[in-house]
């Protein structure tokens, strides 16, 4: 499955991705009902201050993931077909091992589905909610990322005013 990449230099810290993530992981799936849900829907993407600019952070779906290694019940496992670190709530005992193991702080305890909140790349959606919601196209899918990079490079080259 295509990975979500971050063009961190574009982020303006509007937190639209966080909001979209919460809504996508709510029971109702729409903003107005989601705000009233208790417990409040959790997010799996975090806008943090990176150096001096804000930037979204989300699960990197590591191939040799510390969270998977730390899990005593194999509730977390690397799914070879999707390339994602998949979470199986039925197997989870809520020991918080993965929360401590993730070097990026991308797994948080939760009380809704299972015991943790971790990016599942929006199961059942073609494009993840955060990518769709990002107004500055900071969050993009892998293929778009390269397309956009190339377009940007060509534009920069043309605009450099190089005489033909």
């Amino acid at each position: 499955m295509e990975r979500i990449l971050v063009r961190w230099e574009r982020c303006v810290g509007c937190r639209s991705c966080e909001l979209a993530c919460r809504v996508a992981h709510s029971a109702s799936g729409d903003l107005f009902s989601a705000v009233l849900e208790r417990p409040a829907p959790s997010r799996r993407i975090y806008v943090e201050q990176a150096d001096k600019t804000p930037s979204p952070f989300l699960c990197r779906q590591c191939e040799d993931a510390p969270c998977v290694r730390s899990c005593p019940t194999r509730a977390l496992a690397h799914d070879e077909t999707t390339g994602l670190v998949a979470y199986e709530p039925a197997r989870c005992i809520g020991c918080h091992g993965c929360v401590m193991a993730c070097p990026f702080g991308m797994i948080q305890p939760d009380v809704r589905e299972g015991f943790i909140a971790k990016c599942d790349r929006c199961k059942g959606r073609d494009r993840p909610a955060c990518v769709e919601a990002c107004p500055t196209h900071t969050l993009v899918l892998e293929k778009d990322f390269l397309d956009l990079r190339r377009k940007e490079a060509v534009r920069n080259l043309v605009q450099s005013g190089n005489p033909v």
Binding site: W8, C92, H96, G97, V99, P103, F115
Partner: protein
């Protein structure tokens, strides 16, 4: 949410302060064990599981899972059979032999906690490798570490 003991083992320096503090606080038996592996050390203690194997295995109902929280221990029901210790994937439950056997298990210093005090291991740890996490504060700190940034 009820807190749990967050271990940031990348910060642990194996100084054993948590172990000594726990041992002191709990009458000479530490409920926390510090183990080294390669170039790292990890303080191991009850994880306050939300669907705890120990509670699932206890035949007497002495270990009771509390909804959305850790496990509560009802001492008067315990027969010290040791099934919980066998069930725990982390080896942090232990029947301490003696004239009156006892189940040694971290309860986050519940007695102190009810007085508004932090667990002793958290207070004594010089490198903040141990903290009490309830609201994701430690995750925030980890996300703020330089290592989490794609570029410096």
């Amino acid at each position: 949410m009820e807190p749990f003991l967050f271990v940031d083992f990348s910060r642990c320096i194996a100084c054993q302060a948590c172990w000594a503090a726990c041992r002191r606080e709990h009458g000479g038996v530490s409920r926390l064990h510090l183990l080294c592996f390669q170039e790292a050390a990890v303080p191991l203690a009850c994880r306050q599981c939300r669907k705890a194997p120990c509670a699932g295995f206890c035949p007497e109902g002495a270990l009771v899972q509390e909804e959305g929280r850790g496990v509560k221990f009802l001492e008067e029901r315990c027969t010290h059979c040791g099934l919980c210790a066998a069930a725990c994937p982390f080896g942090v439950l232990e029947i301490v032999p003696g004239p009156v056997p006892d189940l040694s298990r971290c309860d986050l210093c519940r007695r102190r906690w009810e007085e508004g005090l932090m667990p002793v291991c958290v207070l004594t740890c010089p490198t903040r490798a141990l903290s009490l996490d309830a609201g994701g504060a430690v995750g925030r700190r980890r996300r703020a570490q330089p290592a989490a940034f794609p570029v410096s």
